[in-house]
Amino acid sequence: MVPMCMSVLYFAKSAELTGHKSETIRDPSELMTLELAIYHLTHYESVALGDQRISLRDGNEVAVIPPLSGG
């Protein structure tokens, strides 16, 4: 089985913590350990971690969205 690839975007504090703005990871299950909200980018739908499983396909992009502070 071909390993699944996905890119992850980091913003604000999550970029500072990880040390980069984006990365490609092969096993998306490790995402589940992040205590941050995740947005499934295909439809810009938000998924709070722990709330539900999300179905990801090869090539999907996810973004880690820390608490907002715009305005």
């Binding site: 975007l9 913003f11 604000a12 504090k13 500072e16 941050l36 909200a37 947005y39 980018l41 810009y44 709070a48 973004a63 969205i65 820390p66 608490p67 907002l68 502070s69 715009g70 305005g71």
Partner: protein, 152 residues
């Protein structure tokens, strides 16, 4: 200045340039409206006793635009007489006293645009993926969290 009557305008701009209140005001002006309400968010010089020298804003741009358009859809459902809506949000460094966000909304009568502008800034803070880092005098900084955000 776009002032001809026409379709309602849903305007969004995320920019590293300095914001202009007149530009936002002009962009929502229309002959059938008697009211324009504007909210301007500006950079404050202090937070809990620490001196703030500037803010730095970052956005997840395509999603921010998409979330702003959802807010516009909500506004048009709740205040159907609202005519034009414009949000300009600044990114990058914003010095103290300069605007980080300017929201302008026009309507025939004032109640609608006044309520809608308040709804717009309240909801923007809760749902639009933009982040600000406060930079303090002592070379320290802190990423802020809006109390309106559901997952702080």
């Amino acid at each position: 200045m776009a002032k001809a009557e026409g379709d309602p305008r849903d305007l969004v701009k995320l920019t590293h340039d300095k914001l202009s209140v007149d530009t936002v005001s002009d962009s929502v002006t229309c002959p059938s409206c008697g009211a324009i309400s504007i909210f301007i968010g500006t950079t404050r010089n202090s937070f809990e006793g620490m001196k703030v020298v500037q803010l730095e804003y970052e956005a997840y741009i395509p999603m921010a635009e998409s979330e702003l358009r959802k807010i516009y859809t909500d506004i048009r459902a709740r205040w159907p007489t609202v005519r034009h809506i414009c949000v300009h949000h600044r990114l990058g460094v914003v010095p103290v006293t300069e605007a980080s966000v300017v929201i302008g909304i026009s309507s025939p009568h004032r109640g609608d645009s006044l309520e809608a502008v308040q709804y717009c800034i309240d909801t923007l803070k809760a749902t639009v993926p933009i982040w600000k880092k406060e930079v303090y005098e002592a070379d320290e900084s802190c990423w802020k969290e809006n109390k309106e955000c559901q997952w702080t």
